[in-house]
Symmetry: C2
Subunit: 228 residues, 2 copies
DNA sequence: GGTTATTTGTTCGTATGTATG
DNA sequence: CCATACATACGAACAAATAAC
């Protein structure tokens, strides 16, 4: 006798679940970039021992959300302009690669899924749930990485995605909007479903350039605010 | 009073040092792909507790050298043809990206360092120390990633390098040679020090294609051997 | 198919080393 | 230089899940 309502939530290790919770706390702004994490306090807070907590921390370090210096401590990754430039430049390269691999594998299911994810993104924008917007945007872009049938690429995209979300979340939290967003993915989706590779190539470059510029602008403004 | 002879070997955590030892054991063939790691035994063998050992394991998992299934166990990553194709295709993309970034940053120091690393590789080949050959080859290729001034790229290259070494080491261990190797990097180095980007681009593609083909050939032969 | 070993996952208490004020 | 807070590490133990019999 199965229990369909409960689902398969049970078979994770503690570490994985704590990692999820920490990730959520960081994206939600409960843990602000630069703040220190103290193991004992967090362990008690989550109701677990230091072992699983350390594993969760380790995982988030690999995702780029936390930085650790031995014997000193763990902190939420600081935002920096050079880091965001690195993220977008690498992402441009990888997403181009992903589209190249996926280009001839696009079928009806791919197109349907792409449109559904776009719809979900639009719904999230309308609901004004900032964090959900970010998740949906990432989910939309993830499709091509999934379609590329390249395990290693997908894994690296996962790491990049985490870092990216850190910046997008900070941007959202600072001022509730994200820019001209409702139509922001129209041309991207159109190109991704279209038949012209040069158009897709140009669209990726343009899309990444816009994203990078907006995030850099936000960081600069944030920096001036701190200096003042 | 300092002790210069000892050097700064002391400030790592146990986990990091165990990870180094495990890595070496894997590349040396002491831990063969597919073999299981049992925590208690390894902990005793290294003279540490299970805590630090688990951290070391975790680290090697992130590097792609080990795979773990919850509650079941940890094993050395199996070799597969699809994985090697992924490694080389991604590496082609990333190394092209790295060279594009580093291209205009190449100075006298870069050229000197490149030649020195090539010399070190040749010396290792002459000494017939297989594992040293791999390290030197990786070290040579690492230069462009270092010169690209891109922290994130360097980090990802580190992960890729580990996976790559796993295959190269298996190849070496199977049959002591690696192919036509002494002149194998001549054209690569020449292109990297030259002034023609198209030549460099073609060289990367060619170099990666050769490497991928040889490793795939080795894997196919190895598979047939197992089947027989 | 059920039982039992083995191994991982986790906890707790404690000790030690390191960094920071 | 000292004191304190915290990270790191140990070791024994129990729980949970897999795997083999």
């Amino acid at each position: 006798m199965s229990v369909p309502a409960v689902g398969k939530l049970q078979k994770q290790t503690f570490g994985a679940r704590i990692a999820d919770a920490l990730r959520k706390a960081i994206f939600a702004g409960d843990l602000v970039p630069g703040s220190a994490l103290i193991e004992t306090a967090l362990a008690e807070q989550f109701g677990v021992s230091r072992g699983p907590l350390r594993e969760a921390i380790r995982q988030l370090i690999d995702e780029g959300l936390l930085v650790q210096v031995p014997f000193s401590g763990t902190r939420v990754t600081e935002l920096s302009e050079s880091a965001i430039r690195e993220i977008y430049s690498l992402r441009t390269t990888l997403e181009m690669f992903a589209f190249r691999l996926a280009w001839d594998r696009r079928d009806a299911a791919f197109r349907l899924e792409m449109l559904q994810r776009q719809q979900a993104l639009l719904a999230a924008i309308d609901s004004a749930d900032e964090l959900e917007c970010i998740r949906r945007e990432m989910h939309l872009h993830s499709l091509v990485y999934e379609a590329a049938d390249h395990q290693l690429l997908l894994e690296i995209w996962g790491g990049l995605k985490g870092r990216l979300q850190l910046y997008l979340a900070a941007n959202y939290l600072a001022h509730g909007r994200h820019g001209p967003r409702r139509t922001g993915h129209d041309s991207f989706v159109a190109a991704a479903l279209g038949d012209s590779w040069p158009v897709m190539e140009a669209e990726i470059l343009q899309h990444m350039r816009l994203g990078s510029e907006e995030t850099e602008r936000f960081l600069k403004a944030r920096k001036e605010q701190v200096d003042a």
